[in-house]
Amino acid sequence: MNNCVITGMGVLSTAGLGSEEFWETLMNGKITYGEIENFKDNPNFRIKIGAKIMDESWSKDLTSEMLEKYGRTSCYAIRTAISAIKDSGLSKSDISDARVAICIGTTMGEIQVEEKISEIRHEDGINAIPQSLLDSYRTDIIGQAVKEAIGASGPVYVVPAACAAGNYAIALGKRLLEWNIADVVIAGGVDVFSRVAFTGFQRLLSLTADQCRPFSSNRKGLVVGEGCGMFVMEAGRHAKARGTRVLGEILSVGLTSDRYHMTAPHPEGDGAARAMENAIRDAGISKRDIDYISAHGTGTPANDKVESKAVIKVFGQDYVPPVSSIKSMLGHAMGAASALELIASILMLERQIILPTVNFIEADPECPVDCVPNKPREAKLECILSNSFAFGGQDSSLIVRKGW
């Protein structure tokens, strides 16, 4: 079977527009969210905190034609895919000549296009909606935009899977390499900050009013965020043939479903535990080989409790790896979250440092895990398990091994 290695990665996040800046922000425990200007004076929004990318230089490598033709989600995906390809050392002709597939996960798709459409429809009626907006709204456009921008010739899949979308896309990319359908896959997750998500989570009372505090007893909820993380994934033999550096190897991805509820996690962590168990089994390693768990860790009372329960269920009481959540600093980037967490995990493997869960105040007896509170920690890291659980009960656990 073809193994799957990562040879390039691109990041677009509130923590930075490149890997180094991203790492530095997280290492310093910097919080990248705050009061959102648009909602500051709006009495309809009791919670004002969100994570938005303010540095508009993210778009500097995109042509004006791309920026005009596509919505912000597609543009995030294009920019970050280009950045990942550059990082991998693959040239334009490498991309056009090889069997390069594209797999992109998202929660809300081109949601800012939807929001513009609603505003126009409300103000001026349905017939006033410009065709250009309608043309850029479909979810599959995101994949087409990336394909067009990078000149890939292989299959394109856009696979919405809510907050597990990045892991789902990477899992599909891994399969395409294993099945020998592609030599290279550009895979990752993307979502832009959306009024719809901000409104929805607000109405579900899932948002925190100040800071995201995963696993802390006084945690109040999540922070809506945005971003994009993209990877160049290659069959091991393909990467070896071109003598490139390997950032990490995806050993396995466990994908399960809770079959329980659209918004609430299974109270016993059924799907989450099975996803972790499946990933460990498929990786052909033992539980003790997992050195660290990158948590889904949204900071909501229910999610963190259930994730902790599932981790204990899988690992037992004797050995539970450290578990931390960078959402404490980034907020929840929705469909991009798992991709950004994989980027952080690869950087942790490279630098042998575990990133912390910041804003931690007090341990919660219902979350009996070592969440690496508030400060990064040096550690010997060879394999990391990264969890992402989603609306609809879609659960995913990915195992990545240190590169070479």
Partner: protein, 323 residues
């Protein structure tokens, strides 16, 4: 890729037959609601209800054990162009018109794009991977194709795959097909001999799936080459083909040229059937379901399903089994 033989053991679905004011085919709610009566579906949107009904109809005809005590992690693969977009729009319109505080929070779950697939997954107690696939007219054919690959490679023991679309005002503005549109929801069940208890449930064997990017220079030659490659890999000849089912979002002139080319290359002069109604992202699975339901396929004969737009082309080959 070597793997297990994949059989279709259940098919089900609904297609619109009632013309609306634009002469598109709608499905009346009562046509599918009967299939899902008694289920806990409060707040579940229309596209999800149709999807659940179609999936229930498909799985009801096979012997696959679908309950919460089942420890086999079946997969679900769901293709759609528009899917949850109408629910997203409705939710957002309320927020814009009357303020965020007036939106009904129970409708928020319907705004995530994987919502219809997850609603099906919850109702069928699917415990394995749930993939929503958005790839234009190919959506449900790609969903079936990915489901096939997952089962074939034994990544899952069985899979339910298909798709659904409904017609709405916004969707009409966005849609660019040139045929009459129709609402539809269809699913198939795919299993290997490991899970099949009763061989009489086998309707067909899926022999292969492939998808290619065709870019601006799509030619019948390239698609024919793909199909021929798939046939040759399975020791099949043009003579084995009973019919080619074709669905497209290409311009009419390009389509005519392509069809002519395919008919010549594959020697299937009178054996290519074009999609008359545009079932949108559900087109591929509806073509499969219809061909099997109406016994259009003859035992042992090969049927090929091709969906295409100006970006991509997907192909599934299946062999009918039984009368």
């Amino acid at each position: 890729m070597s793997g297990k033989k994949v059989y279709i053991t259940g098919v089900g679905g609904f297609t619109g037959t009632t013309p609306d004011s634009n002469n598109n085919f709608k499905i009346l709610d009562e046509e599918y609601e009967l299939s899902i009566s008694g289920r806990q579906l409060r707040g579940v949107d229309r596209v999800s209800r149709l999807s659940i009904a179609a999936a229930v109809s498909a799985t009801g005809k096979c012997n696959l054990k679908m309950d919460r005590n089942n420890d086999r992690e079946y997969g679900l693969f769901y293709g759609t162009i528009y899917g949850a977009l109408e629910s997203v729009h409705e939710f957002d319109m309320v927020s814009v018109s009357t303020g965020a505080l007036s939106v009904n929070p129970s409708l928020f779950p319907s705004t995530v794009l994987n919502s219809p697939a997850c609603q099906v997954g919850i109702q069928l107690a699917i415990s394995g991977p749930i993939y929503t696939v958005c790839s234009g007219i190919m959506s449900s054919l790609d969903a079936v194709g990915l489901g096939y690959l997952y089962v074939h490679s034994q990544a899952v023991p069985a899979a339910v795959a298909g798709g659904a679309e409904v017609i709405t005002e916004m969707q009409q503005l966005m849609h660019k097909g040139r045929s009459r549109q129709g609402e539809a929801g269809g699913f198939i069940v795919m299993e290997t001999e490991d899970t099949i208890n009763d061989t009489s449930s086998i309707a067909a064997e899926i022999l292969g799936y492939s998808t290619i990017n065709i870019g601006a220079s799509q030619t019948s030659h390239r698609i024919a080459e793909l199909v021929v490659g798939m046939l040759e890999e399975r020791d099949l000849t043009f003579g084995d083909i009973q019919k080619v089912y074709y669905g497209s979002y290409l311009d009419k002139s390009v389509d005519n040229e392509l069809i002519g080319g395919l008919q010549d290359s594959l020697h299937i002069k009178d054996r290519l059937e074009q999609l008359e109604t545009d079932w949108m992202g559900a087109s591929g699975v509806i073509q499969i379901v219809t061909s099997l339901n109406k016994n259009k396929c003859e035992d042992g004969r090969i049927n090929i399903f091709i969906n295409i737009d100006d970006i991509k082309c997907s192909v599934i080959i299946l062999k009918k089994i039984g009368g």
